[in-house]
């Protein structure tokens, strides 16, 4: 095993809470506020980890296991995603299916823990989350399949590493379609506007936030950290395919890191200028993303 393979994983572990910080800062700048410090998520995590957890008497062991399993799934997914020229820790053909599966597993445990509380609000959030992710997942898979076909490889590490300037020159529009589809999936999977508003605390409109209302202390820290990791990983997918590989490892890494933060800024801008979609419109957006990915796949065949 190459020691360099640990670089993507280490960067993900260390820097992932920075992305939500950048998003919040961008939103604050747009609104004319100073906003929370960039490292706010780290402070939050430290604070939460020092607290004790309170458990309701209706909950069972599932509720306590949920956050841990979620974080475990996120960590496992983090081992599969490459960064720039550095291959991921684990890379094998068709590992993108495992990646999608691990994201699904993570969501499954969030939903299970939410249902375990017996609260009707959490059940509502769980129902929405499952519905929307069922629509987002085909878009993600078809988009990755298109990439796999263009790169001629079924492994995430080679798939993202091999998309170069040449690909963009030949099939620019196709790759652009895939990128837009992946970007919509990123916004949907990470509960961002226009699908879900991470700041809302009105029970009737929340999706993700409502499911984690009953968690506290270290459990909530795991959830926040897991969510940050997920955002990091999906951002790495989008950036990995947009930033062409130059060949020089460290230059590539610098470019990719710049791209990651740029995507975070873009997410912040989207959240500042757009309103949340009505809930009935969200399936249309997600199926639209799937249709874009499918169109890209078909156009890429020729």
């Amino acid at each position: 095993m190459n020691p360099e393979s640990f670089i993507p994983l280490l960067l993900a572990l260390l820097l992932s809470p920075l992305l939500p910080g950048i998003i919040n800062r961008t939103k604050a700048l747009f609104a004319g506020r100073r906003g929370p410090p960039l490292l706010q998520i780290y402070f939050d995590l430290g604070k939460l980890l020092r607290k004790g957890a309170v458990y309701s008497r209706t909950t069972t062991w599932i509720f306590r296991a949920g956050p841990m399993l979620e974080l475990a799934a996120a960590l496992a997914a983090a081992m599969l995603v490459p960064l720039g020229n550095f291959a991921a820790l684990i890379a094998f053909p068709a590992d993108f299916l495992l990646f999608a599966g691990l994201l699904g597993l993570m969501r499954f445990f969030t939903v299970l823990a939410a249902l375990d509380t017996g609260s009707s609000f959490e059940g509502m959030g769980a129902s929405r989350e499952v519905f929307f992710s069922a629509l987002a997942e085909p878009a993600l898979l078809v988009a990755l399949a298109t990439l796999a076909r263009q790169a001629g490889s079924f492994s995430l590490s080679t798939m993202l590493g091999q998309v170069s300037g040449g690909h963009w020159l030949h099939l620019g529009p196709v790759l652009a379609l895939v990128m837009i589809a992946l970007m919509i999936v990123l916004l949907a999977e990470n509960e961002r506007i226009p699908v879900d508003d991470p700041n809302t605390h009105l029970e009737l409109t929340m999706i993700h936030e409502v499911m984690v209302l009953d968690h506290g202390g270290p459990d909530f820290a795991f959830i926040v950290y897991g969510a940050a990791l997920k955002l990091w990983l999906l951002t790495a997918l989008v950036v990995g395919m947009v930033v062409p590989a130059t060949g020089a490892s460290w230059l590539d890494l610098a470019l990719v890191m710049g791209g990651m933060f740029a995507v975070a800024v873009i997410v912040g801008v989207v959240e500042s200028v757009m309103a949340r979609l009505r809930l009935v419109m969200v399936p249309q957006l997600l199926v639209g993303a799937g249709a874009l990915a499918a169109a890209a796949f078909l156009l890429g065949l020729k």
């Binding site: 030949h170 399936p283 249709a291 874009l292 499918a294 169109a295 065949l301």
Partner: protein, 213 residues
Amino acid sequence: MNNTNIILILVVLTNLKLLGSSRLGASIRVVAMQGVVLGLLPVLAHTNELSLRYAVLAAGTIALKGIVFPWFLFRAVREAEVTREVEPYVGYVTSLLAGVLILAVSFWMCERLPMPETLASSWLAPVAFFSIFAGLFLIVSRKRAVNQVLGFLVLENGVYTFGVGLAPHTSLLVEAGVLLDVFVAVFVMGITIFHINREFDHIETNRLSTLKD
């Protein structure tokens, strides 16, 4: 990657947008945009022989499809005083999925069909067929007469796309004839919509078919 392919992708995207769009005004604007984009196709597809013929074709197409038809349809919608919803038989999400299916079928079909060598792009024939089928689908899946006119226009855009791809083989007269036909058709449809609306106070075709006396 040449300009033709970018135009063809725009055509695919506008068709998908039409299938998923719930607003009448937006649909008309999208069809207008598709018309303008397709108007540029003859000029960009045959850059090596930039002649007056293609320029005239482009100018005529853009003027008709980008300006005259939208203006006419907006006028028909305004005078018929319909609401701004599309009112489909088949829902928007299902329509989008059907669109993807149609695209796949078009690609599959064009693999099988013998194609002339001179097509400007390998995507041209599949995208043309996609427009034709998507137009047909829009005609049968929407209730409003205005939407059916839009479906007809998309269908014609598909025929036009294919025709432009074959432009060196066909004469300008054929293209001009098709354009004229479409113009008359839209003109007649616009008047019909207005008259249907005046007689029955609505333009919903499903309610017309249950009419007695």
